[in-house]
C-alpha cells in the first residue's frame, strides 16, 4: 500500500476524491441522484464535482428513487459506469425492484451477456436526530441478495480505496456510508489505490476477545477496546469492510485465537448482519469458543426522534464494554 502521504482528509473528502479520480480516469463514470449537483448533497459530500465535470456527468434527478435507480441500471447495462446516490438509506425501499430483481439478476439471466457495473452510494446510521424514516441502517436487506456486493467503509482511507474498487467492479455494488462519519478525519494517500473486496481489516490486535464491527460501529468497538484494556482484557477489533463478499477466514481465525466474539453492527439486531456473521464464527470456530457469540445491533424499534431515546437504540462504547466484560467473566 502506498504510504507516501501523511495527508488527512475527512470521510466526505475521501469519497469525493475517489469519485473525482475515477471520473478523470474513466469518462464512463457519472453520478445520478437528488441534489448531487449544485447542492453537492445535503451532506456536502459531492461539493465541487459538478463544477469540475459538468452537469452532464453529475446529474440532478427528480425525487424518484426507483426511476433514477432504474436509469442507473440501464445506463450501466448499456456502457456507462454510473454512481447512483440515494440520499438516505431509508429510501432504498423504493429502489428494491431495480436492485433486487434487475441489477442483481441481469448478468445471470442473460447468460453473462449483460452486466451492471453500477455503484449505488447511500447512507446509514442513527443519532443524527433524523427520526424513524431517515435513521435506519438497512444494509442487511441487500446483503441478503445474491448478485449484489455490499461495501461498508469505516475510515476515510477505506472509503477511498473501497469506492474505487466498487466503481471498477463489473457487478452492482451497494456502498454504505455512515452519515455521522462524514466529518471524521483520517490519513488518506493522495495517490491512486484500491482496497480489494472480501478482505477484512484488523483495526486493533488483541488476545482475549474479538469485536467484529462494521461501519459506524468500528469506532464504538475501538472505544470499547480501550475501556477493556483498563480491566486487563485485550480486545481485537476486526472490520470486515465488505459484507459481501465476506472475509470469513479472518473472522474465524480471530475468534479461534481469542475464543470469544461479539458482532456489532448498526442495523437491526434481529435477522440482521450480526446474525449472519455470528453464525459464520460459531460454525468456523465452535470448538475454540469459550462463550456463545454475542450479537449487538440496533434495538428492534423504529428509531425514535427523541435524542435520549434514540441514543439507547444503538450500541455504544459502554454497552459493548459491558457485554465484553461479561462474556470474559470479568463482571
Amino acid at each position: 500500500m502506498p504510504e507516501t502521504a501523511q495527508r488527512e482528509l475527512t470521510f466526505a473528502q475521501a469519497i469525493r476524491e475517489a469519485l473525482a479520480e475515477e471520473m478523470w480516469r474513466d469518462p464512463r463514470v457519472c453520478i445520478f441522484g437528488e441534489d448531487v449537483a449544485e447542492a453537492g448533497t445535503p451532506f456536502k459530500v459531492l461539493s465541487g464535482l459538478v463544477e469540475e465535470f459538468g452537469a452532464e456527468r453529475v446529474l440532478d434527478t427528480p425525487i424518484s428513487e426507483q426511476g433514477f435507480t432504474g436509469m442507473g441500471v440501464g445506463a450501466a447495462m448499456t456502457g456507462l459506469r454510473p454512481v447512483v446516490d440515494i440520499m438516505f438509506g431509508d429510501f432504498l425501499t423504493l429502489t428494491m425492484d431495480q436492485l433486487v430483481n434487475q441489477a442483481a439478476k441481469v448478468h445471470y439471466m442473460s447468460g453473462g451477456t449483460w452486466k451492471v457495473p453500477m455503484v449505488l452510494r447511500t447512507t446509514l446510521g442513527a443519532t443524527r436526530r433524523s427520526a424513524a424514516q431517515h435513521s435506519q441502517s438497512l444494509h442487511a436487506w441487500l446483503c441478503h441478495v445474491p448478485g449484489l456486493k455490499v461495501a461498508m467503509p469505516s475510515t476515510p482511507y477505506d472509503a477511498k480505496g473501497l469506492l474505487k474498487t466498487a466503481i471498477r467492479d463489473d457487478n452492482p455494488v451497494i456502498f454504505f456510508e455512515d452519515k455521522m462519519m462524514y466529518k471524521q478525519k483520517g490519513r488518506v494517500p493522495a495517490e491512486d489505490y484500491t482496497i480489494p473486496f472480501g478482505v477484512a481489516d484488523v483495526k486493533r490486535e488483541g488476545e482475549d476477545i474479538t469485536l467484529v464491527a462494521t461501519s459506524s460501529m468500528v469506532d464504538v468497538a475501538l472505544g470499547a477496546a480501550k475501556l477493556l484494556e483498563g480491566i486487563g482484557v485485550s480486545a481485537e477489533v476486526i472490520d470486515p469492510r465488505t459484507m459481501w463478499p465476506l472475509d470469513e477466514k479472518t473472522l474465524v481465525e480471530s475468534a479461534k485465537k481469542t475464543s470469544r466474539a461479539i458482532v456489532i453492527d448498526e442495523g437491526y439486531g434481529r435477522y440482521g448482519v450480526t446474525g449472519e456473521v455470528a453464525s459464520v464464527i460459531a460454525e468456523g470456530a465452535f470448538f475454540n469458543l469459550e462463550a456463545p457469540v454475542k450479537r449487538m445491533g440496533a434495538m428492534h424499534v423504529p428509531i425514535p426522534f427523541s435524542p435520549p431515546l434514540e441514543d439507547v437504540t444503538v450500541p455504544t462504547e459502554q454497552t459493548v464494554f459491558e457485554a465484553a466484560r461479561k462474556l470474559c467473566g470479568k463482571a
Binding site: S259, F286, F287, N288, L289, E290, A291, K326, L327, G329, A331
Partner: protein, 395 residues
C-alpha cells in the same frame, strides 16, 4: 379422578429429593397409607405413603433421580383411567400425606434452580478436556455462571500432570444428600448464630442409681437408658425456662408451645436428630420405647418425615464414646443444644473431704440472640439439680 404423587419436602428450605425406590410397580393397586416410595431427603431416608387409593400409573421419576420437591412423579388412577398427560406440575391441593409433603407445593421459581444442572462448559473447554483426558465432572468452572473454561481445564490438566497432592481435590468423594446438608447446616449455624457456651459438672450417682433401679426385672435393652432419663429431665426443666425452648425467627423470638426434644443420632453418613414430641408430658417408659424405635429407624435409614421435624431443643450425648465434655453446634431455629459427656469417676470435694464420685459434664450451647448467660445458667443449674434427684422429678 387421578391423584398426583409428588416429591415431598420436609422443610421449606428443601429443594430436591432423591428417589431411592418405588415400593409398588406401575399398574399395581395401592391403598392410602401404604408405603409407596422411598426418598432420600435432605436429612434422611424416608418412606412416603400413598396419598390415596388407586392404581399406580404414569411414573415419570426413575430410581436414583434427584427431583425438585413438589414435582409430580406419578399418579394414582381409577381402573381404566389414564394418568393426565402433563405430569409436571402438582395439582392444587395435591394430596400428599405428611404435613411436610403438603408444604411441598414449592413455587416453580425455586424449581428451576433446583433442577439438576448439566455441566456448563464452553465448546473449547470440552474439546480441550477430551484432548487432555481431563474429567470435566471434577472441574469447578470459573467462567460466567460457573461455566468451565479452557483455563479451568488447563489448570485441572496441569494439576493432574504434577500428580501431587494438588490433584486431590479433584478426587473428592461426592457427598450424600445427608452429608452435604450436614455440611451446609453446620456452616450456616456456626457462621450466623452467635453461640455461647456454659459448662457444669454434676454428680451423677443418683442418676445412675435411678436408671439401674428402673432396669431391675426388665429384659436387657428394654428399660430406659441414661439418655432417656436425661431427655425426660431436660424436658421437665424446660417447662420452667421457656426461653431455652424458643426459636429465633429472624426478627424476634418465638416461645414454642410444645417441648419436643431432638436426640442426635450417629448414622452412616453423618448425624440425624430424631424428635421425641412433648417429651415433658410423656411417661418415661413410653419415651424410652419411642426413642429406641427412632434409633432403629435412623440406623436403617427409615426415618419418616414426622420423625425428624418439630424439635425445639437438642440433646447430643457422646458418653458412649468416653468423651469427657464437648461443645455442640446449635440446630436453627432451635436456640440451644446440650452436649453431654461420659459419666466417669472423678476426685471431687465431698462435704469438705476428698471423695470419688461419678461425674457428668454438660455443656450448653445457646443462641445469644434468644438467651443470655444468666438465663442459660439458671436452666443449666436447675437441670443439674434434677440430675441429682431424678426420682423426685420423674415420679
Amino acid at each position: 379422578m387421578a391423584i398426583s404423587v409428588v416429591m415431598p419436602a420436609l422443610e421449606m428450605a428443601q429443594e430436591n429429593g432423591k428417589l431411592l425406590a418405588w415400593r409398588k410397580k406401575e399398574g399395581e393397586s395401592v391403598t392410602k397409607g401404604e408405603p409407596l416410595l422411598e426418598v432420600e431427603t435432605d436429612k434422611a431416608v424416608v418412606e412416603v405413603e400413598a396419598p390415596g387409593d388407586g392404581i399406580l400409573a404414569g411414573i415419570t421419576a426413575q430410581v436414583g433421580a434427584v427431583i425438585p420437591v413438589g414435582e409430580t412423579i406419578a399418579w394414582l388412577v381409577a381402573p381404566g383411567e389414564q394418568p393426565p398427560a402433563k405430569a409436571a406440575t402438582a395439582a392444587p391441593g395435591a394430596r400428599a400425606t405428611s404435613a411436610a409433603a403438603s408444604a411441598a407445593a414449592a413455587p416453580t421459581a425455586a424449581k428451576t434452580s433446583a433442577e439438576p444442572v448439566a455441566i456448563q462448559i464452553s465448546p473449547k473447554a470440552r474439546r480441550l478436556a477430551k484432548e487432555l483426558g481431563v474429567d470435566i465432572g471434577q472441574i469447578r468452572g470459573t467462567g460466567p455462571d460457573g461455566t468451565i473454561t479452557s483455563d479451568d481445564v488447563q489448570a485441572a490438566a496441569s494439576a493432574k500432570a504434577s500428580g501431587g497432592a494438588t490433584a486431590a481435590p479433584a478426587a473428592a468423594e461426592p457427598l450424600s444428600q445427608l452429608a452435604r446438608l450436614m455440611a451446609e447446616r453446620t456452616t450456616q449455624s456456626w457462621t450466623t448464630v452467635p453461640h455461647f457456651f456454659l459448662q457444669q459438672s454434676v454428680d451423677a450417682s443418683a442418676l445412675q442409681t435411678y436408671q439401674k433401679k428402673l432396669s431391675v426385672g426388665s429384659a436387657p435393652g428394654t428399660s430406659p437408658t441414661i439418655t432417656d432419663v436425661l431427655i425426660a429431665l431436660i424436658a421437665r426443666s424446660l417447662e420452667k425456662h421457656p426461653k431455652l425452648n424458643a426459636s429465633w425467627t429472624g426478627d424476634g423470638i418465638r416461645l414454642n408451645a410444645d417441648i419436643n426434644i431432638s436426640v442426635a443420632m450417629a448414622v452412616k453418613d453423618g448425624v440425624v436428630s430424631a424428635v421425641i414430641p412433648n417429651a415433658n408430658r410423656t411417661p418415661l417408659a413410653t419415651l424410652s420405647t419411642l426413642r429406641r424405635e427412632l434409633t432403629q429407624r435412623a440406623r436403617s435409614g427409615r426415618l419418616r418425615p414426622a420423625d425428624i421435624t418439630g424439635g425445639t431443643f437438642t440433646l447430643s450425648n457422646l458418653g458412649m464414646y468416653k468423651i469427657d465434655a464437648f461443645t455442640a453446634i446449635i440446630t436453627p431455629p432451635q436456640c440451644a443444644i446440650l452436649a453431654v459427656g461420659a459419666i466417669a469417676d472423678a476426685v471431687v470435694p465431698v462435704d469438705g473431704n476428698i471423695g470419688v464420685r461419678p461425674m457428668l459434664t454438660m455443656t450448653l450451647s445457646s443462641d445469644h440472640r434468644v438467651v443470655d448467660g444468666a438465663r442459660a445458667a439458671e436452666f443449666l443449674g436447675e437441670l443439674a439439680v434434677a440430675i441429682r434427684e431424678p426420682e423426685k422429678w420423674l415420679k
